[in-house]
């Protein structure tokens, strides 16, 4: 099988392993290329009085020092989000200026020599403090159904609680980088490691004071994105473009890892406060919750993150009477941004905390309590509080299968026996079930474009608005095109994303890459195929419906018959017949809508489901812990590429596990991030992967919505499955809640508290 559904490997895999695959910084630099380095604020909050840059300007190689006043267009990369601090300094790590020099070392040395004169102000550094002050970057969004207060008051039992989840650094292996080359008539060509070339284009045009038609942005591949190159790539590129515009020479800005970790946003940390009413069977009858995200200093993408946290706060569960309030407070920290899951994983933590605490209060296993509250469980509805129908049968099914795969009952017994005998170590079992809505919460982003050319020799060139960050989007979309034309993959040239080829694109984000671009490319290819079929029908003297594209050939009436043209012969014929072999394709997700005022609608095209069971072991003397085994069942619909999808599931799970266990962002009391490199910020290593790691795709479950070949998105949902590890840790040490990440320190402290 060559087309959709085949487990083909990543199109660049061999180029990756031989080192041939070119990342942005691998491209040979044009003569005269300059290098840029950022000057970052050492202080979290204050008034910028002056930059002492005279010494730096005199240093070897320095060509320019540029700041807010040197921006020819708007010093604003969004809405009131200055590219360079202008007067007000809002976080430690905020860009104040850029040094441009003949070598990167010269630029870095000069940048380090610049002193900022800043009058400090008292920074706001915690969600709690910002809540007290009532300062938000996203005003409270309230999602209500029924009367939560009354239901809680009327419930047999009642509980209040609070907990926290930390943020997460993307740690894409390739840091942020852009190369801007000025052309004539104000043109600017920008190579950017970005998930969102169109936004880079807009921001560059805005900063330079020009129009989009003069700015071309391309991206062949990123060395990882994870949401971190959705909005943050834009300002990095804008700095390079500003410097290129000011000097008239190509300028590359490649952030050091430290600058990258200081200046670019991360996953939003959250504070949760909730009150629930429930019965003795663990059914949650009413729930009121506040989900307060730390938005950092600016809006960035926080509204979308809050939207997703609020819409995923009940996750796979139903509570009839519910009020969920989400907000993003303003603090003097880096502006938190998109990160795989985009608030969904943080939202889902709420219901897990409710389930585990209610279970403990009722003396029931959390799995039992969760299942009793499933959407579609007896006595429970099958609709989200915002009014969208969810497939309860699939929730029940993924959980039943994961439970069975994990051999739950037998291992419960084994673990109990171990815990009864080992003097200091404790094992635990935890689970997670997810229902994740697929579509951008911002409705207009649910669109995509593609551009397909068939050349007269029968070769095919594919371009679309999606970007490749390792997730295998390019091969998946190429498989769709193969499927349409009935050709092999090697006939298709996969090309760099470019705003000059497909304009006005959405970011490659929200797991929607293959859903949107797959359809767009499909539509482009179908248009060309239709024209080619007409030509073939005339040649064969048959009705057009009887022309079949398969096996790199075009057949009359049946595959394997005598009347056949090579695909390349037909392409040549179309050219001679003056038939266009080029087409754009466009797609907009149907049937989605959202009313921001009432917080109701059908914002998601469909839901993805999954379940996991994890086992851990904890040392009660030190808090050290390890995950021993994980079993996952993930719904991918009818997978476009099971090998790629499995990779996404495994990678998302391990990344999620990092977020919830070892990855800890640590700010000092002055608001300076101190974990600014891999020596201090620890992402999972190979040993942290569960030694037994069983992952499988849910079988026989094509998407019920009209997705591309009935496949489902897979990029983000499995991040939530890592919550099974956090739940297993709770089980191991006998607590019902944990602040996250569950570092050895948090576990040991939780144990100490439990023992009084």
């Amino acid at each position: 099988m060559k087309g959709a559904g085949a487990a083909l490997r990543h199109d660049s895999a061999l180029k990756h392993t031989t080192g041939e695959a070119r990342f942005l910084d691998d491209t040979a630099e044009a003569a005269g290329t300059l290098h840029a380095a950022l000057v970052l604020s050492p202080i979290a909050h204050g008034r910028l009085l002056a930059l002492e840059d005279a010494a730096a300007r005199a240093m070897p190689g320095v060509v320019a020092v540029l700041g807010a006043r040197d921006v020819p267009g708007q010093n604003d990369i969004a809405v009131n989000e200055p590219l360079f601090a202008d007067g007000l300094v809002e976080f430690a790590g905020q860009p104040l200026a850029v040094v441009v020099a003949t070598t990167r070392d010269d630029a870095l040395r000069a940048a380090a020599a610049i002193r900022a004169e800043i009058t400090p102000r008292e920074p706001v550094l915690s969600i709690e403090r910002a809540l007290e002050l009532g300062q938000n970057v996203v005003a409270p969004q309230v999602m209500t159904r029924g009367d939560a207060a009354r239901a809680i008051a009327a419930a047999p039992r009642r509980m209040e609680a609070e907990f926290r989840a930390g943020g997460q650094e993307h740690f894409y292996l390739e840091g942020q980088v852009a190369l801007a080359t000025p052309g004539e008539d104000g043109e600017m060509l920008v190579l950017s490691s970005t998930q969102h070339p169109s936004e880079v284009q807009h921001v560059v045009a805005k900063v330079l004071g020009g129009a989009c038609h003069r700015v071309t942005v391309t991206c062949r591949r990123m060395g990882g994105g994870f949401g971190g190159k959705e909005s943050n790539a834009s300002w990095v590129a804008a700095v390079a473009a500003l410097a290129a515009s000011a000097t008239g020479r190509p300028v590359k800005l490649r952030l050091t890892r430290r600058a990258d970790m200081l200046a670019t946003g991360k996953r939003h940390p959250f504070l949760y406060r909730w009150t629930a009413g429930f019965d003795a069977q663990g059914r949650v009858l009413g729930l009121e919750a506040l989900l307060a995200a730390d938005g950092g200093w600016s809006v960035d993408m926080s509204p979308g993150v809050v939207f997703r946290a609020v819409t995923h706060a009940l996750n796979c569960c139903d509570v009839a009477d519910v009020t969920i309030t989400g907000c993003a407070v303003k603090t003097n920290t880096v502006s938190h941004t998109a990160f795989r899951g985009f608030g969904g994983p943080q939202g889902a933590l709420l219901m897990e905390d409710v389930v585990h605490r209610v279970a403990a209060a009722c003396g029931l296993p959390p799995e039992e309590v969760r299942a009793r509250n499933f959407l579609g469980a007896p006595g429970k509805g099958e609709e989200t509080p915002y009014g969208q129908k969810v497939e309860g049968d699939l929730i029940a099914r993924v959980w039943a299968e994961a439970r069975q795969d994990s051999d739950w009952d037998r291992r419960r017994g084994e673990i109990a026996a171990f815990n009864a005998t080992h003097p200091t170590l404790r094992r635990g079992l935890g689970s997670m079930v997810l229902a994740f809505g697929i579509s951008f919460g911002v409705m207009h982003l649910n669109q995509a474009g593609a551009l397909v050319h068939v050349y007269a020799d029968g070769s095919i060139r594919l371009n679309h608005g999606g970007t490749e960050m390792g997730q295998g989007l390019f091969v998946k979309v190429a498989q769709v095109v193969c499927d349409v034309f009935g050709t092999d993959l090697d006939r298709i040239a996969i090309t760099a994303t470019s705003t000059a080829e497909v304009p006005n694109t959405a970011p490659t984000a929200a797991s929607t890459g293959s859903d949107l671009n797959g359809w767009a490319a499909h539509n482009a290819a179908e248009t060309i195929k239709g024209r080619m079929a007409e030509v073939a029908a005339t040649r064969f003297g048959i009705p057009v419906e009887q022309v079949i594209f398969a096996d790199n050939k075009v057949w009359a009436e049946r595959i394997g018959g005598n009347v056949v043209l090579e695909f390349s012969e037909l392409a040549k014929l179309c050219f001679l017949e003056r038939v266009s072999l080029s087409s754009t394709g466009f797609y907009r997700t149907p049937d989605i809508h959202w009313d921001r005022a009432t917080m109701r609608g059908n914002p998601f095209f469909y839901f993805s489901y999954g379940a996991a069971v994890s086992e851990v072991i904890v040392d009660t003397l030190t808090g050290e812990h390890r995950c021993l085994r994980t079993d996952i069942v993930q719904d991918c619909g009818r997978s476009l590429n099971p090998a790629i999808d499995r990779g996404q599931i495994e990678g998302a799970f391990v990344q999620g596990m990092g977020w919830l266990t070892c990855e800890e962002l640590w700010w000092d009391t002055q608001g300076r991030l101190r974990t600014v490199g891999p020596s201090t910020y620890k992402i999972p290593g190979s040993r942290d992967v569960p030694p037994i790691f069983n992952v499988r795709l849910l079988e026989g479950a094509p998407a019920r919505s009209e997705t591309i070949f009935r496949s489902k998105a897979v990029g983000e949902p499995p991040v939530l499955l890592a919550i099974s590890v956090a739940n297993a840790l709770k089980d191991a040490i006998g607590v019902e809640t944990l602040d996250l990440p569950a570092t050895p320190e948090r576990l040991l402290m939780a144990l100490a508290r439990r023992e009084g």
Binding site: L14, G19, L173, R257, P423, G651, R687, P691
Partner: protein, 469 residues
Amino acid sequence: MSATSIAFLLNGRQVHLPPGTSPTTSLLDWLRGPAALSGTKEGCAEGDCGACTVVLEGAQGDRRPINACLTLLGQVHGRAIRTVEGLRGADGAPHPIQRAMAESDGTQCGFCTPGIVMTAWAHAREGGEVHEALAGNLCRCTGYRPILDVFAGLADDGAAPPALPQEAATVFEAPGQVFHRPVTLDALLALRAAHPGAWLLAGGTDLGLRVSDHRERPAEVICLLGVPELHALQATPEALEVGAALPYAALLEACRREAGFAPFAALLARLGSRQIRGLGTLGGNLGTASPIGDALPPLLALGAQVTLASVRGMRRMAVADFLKGYRVNDLAPDEVILSVTLPRPAPGDLFVCEKVSKRHDQDIATVGAAFWLRMEDGRVAEVRLAFGGVGPIAARAPRAEAALRGHVLNAASLGEAAEVLADEIFPLSDWRGSAAYRLMVAQGLLRRLALRGSNPDLPADVASYAVSP
């Protein structure tokens, strides 16, 4: 002495750098810049991510993965380096490892991949535990499963060892820089006496960071790699005598081989990564005198001695006396560390090395500890308890030691010692852990000793359970 050019083998071919090339340019910057070999990537420039992994090919065919970001050009003089571009066969075909990694879905974004391929190429020959091999390579996309599958099936390609260039050059100069590479101890000591401010460069895992991450350009460097005495390793029934510039990789092999040192070997296997151990040295850990150096608590627990040399002569002192304060040691400006003597634990001695960190591999200890106890008549006769990460210097805990001496080793006596410990260690809070947590861990590690001592067959730590079936 005359200035000469740096020469080495790169992917099997002899390279002579133009005279005047800065000897403190990182190998990574040189590969990606002048050499136009962009397959080797920069992920962090601090030796932690492994995207820049290249392999040092030994004369005996041994393969040592190292971080090109921390390796300076002057250090590769006379050695052989292989990069991802150098793995293709004579016919230009990808190496079988490159094929296997591609065909097993071992790449997603592909940025970490060249480094992982080089680690795999070295591992195919060197063998050993797979996570130990991979500890120095971070992948953010795959979740490692497919990479581990490839590592499980690696086969050595049997490629012949390189013929290392015989290079006698002893000094490299660049504008504003001089890089000395003495090849005798006498020359080294004379240079040290003449240039007390020069960087003393062995593996460069600390100093290389100043170049790679902080972009420093030192004026004077004295490289220790060419001095045989600093690379010696001698085992006697009483001790291991370890040259100060011997890479940890070689020390780890020795400790695995030598009776009594297995606990130290297990700790060394967690010191940095294979890449770091390929460069880093015991002399470096003592030279920086950082309180979080992994190797220091075991040296203190074993009662190790350090030998210092200068043109004035040699002297020998206990490591405990050598470490004076936070990043301060007893080294005189004209002295170098020659060797370290590790007394061999006797059969029956209890010797335990511990390290607690956020991540098991390639992490810096939140708390490090090493315990050595000699029992007589079922009671603790002699004891040394050493901790790192819980104060300005790695140090022993004499009051806790006193609390154990003369007692039966059990949960009660260790609990007592743990209580006493609270009165003599005063850790700081930072990103690796709060002061309160560090104290609890230090106490917990003492309590864990009860289990390790009384029931050695029952694994006492989580790592022992987290193993592939």
